[in-house]
Symmetry: C2
Subunit: 149 residues, 2 copies
Amino acid sequence: MRIEDEIKGRFRNDYHKGMINMTYTVKQLSYDFLQLLKNHGLTEPQYNIMRVLRGNRSGRPASIGYIKERMLDKSSDVSRIIDRLHGKGYIDRTENSEDRRQKVIAITGKGLDLLDKMDDCEKKVDKLLENLGPDEVNELNRLLDKIRG
Amino acid sequence: MRIEDEIKGRFRNDYHKGMINMTYTVKQLSYDFLQLLKNHGLTEPQYNIMRVLRGNRSGRPASIGYIKERMLDKSSDVSRIIDRLHGKGYIDRTENSEDRRQKVIAITGKGLDLLDKMDDCEKKVDKLLENLGPDEVNELNRLLDKIRG
DNA sequence: ATAAATTAATTGTTTCAACATATAATGTTC
DNA sequence: GAACATTATATGTTGAAACAATTAATTTAT
């Protein structure tokens, strides 16, 4: 549906419309994804952190800062999100004896089990843009990269 | 810059990449805009509500529900955002004698003055996508509309 | 005309973003 | 090695999103 029809209100020009359109589309797609996450009791940043921890094959232990670097949202409040995941038993948090300022964060067996059960969430992400053909997705990626300069 | 280089981590496929790319791009553009708003002491939803109120040439008084319909974020907590704007003196809020469930929300002179001074914010929105040519913006809008089906 | 359903707005709760500040450990410099 | 700077994390605060639940006014149904 055209964005003009979904949101009451007018746009000054196509550039204005483009920005609103993008914001609105991301919001709508994220919502669909969020509903799935909620079935498993996780929020989006919680899920992202769990995936970062599972994906850590770097050999190095993951610190708060390591996780932060890999989050979409760099200003994200990793300390407190880790708190909540720890409370649910999905994460271990120990002091790093190499550098006692750092914490060593690791996903637990319980956390890994949960992620395994959340396979449908990964599949969902790959389907959010399914209305576009392969060429169109590439064109979208090109335009987005160009926007950011 | 290509999204692969800005975010550490890999994508399963172009569809996955497209969704992350869009989310990340919106986040970055919104941040630029937010900084401008902050100079004027408003948050994004506060600014949006003020603009809806200024733009209300419908003759009808604006209720909470009227504003909600025109917000990008339909689940937005208009009541409490209105509270804060009222606290700053930018909005009047009175009971609607026609239907005493409703409130009549109106922007004050002080609010209008503020919006006039925030001209730079409107200009900024129109420039967020300036890296794209006119045809590219149209193509972007077409793709976004198609994504939402 | 009264009861039931709907609507408009408010309030409460949890989680998070964005920001500032604090605290403790480690590095650097003189 | 003592003073200072930097780094890693934690904490505090405000504003907001996403829900649920509540309250009060209006509409509908019987």
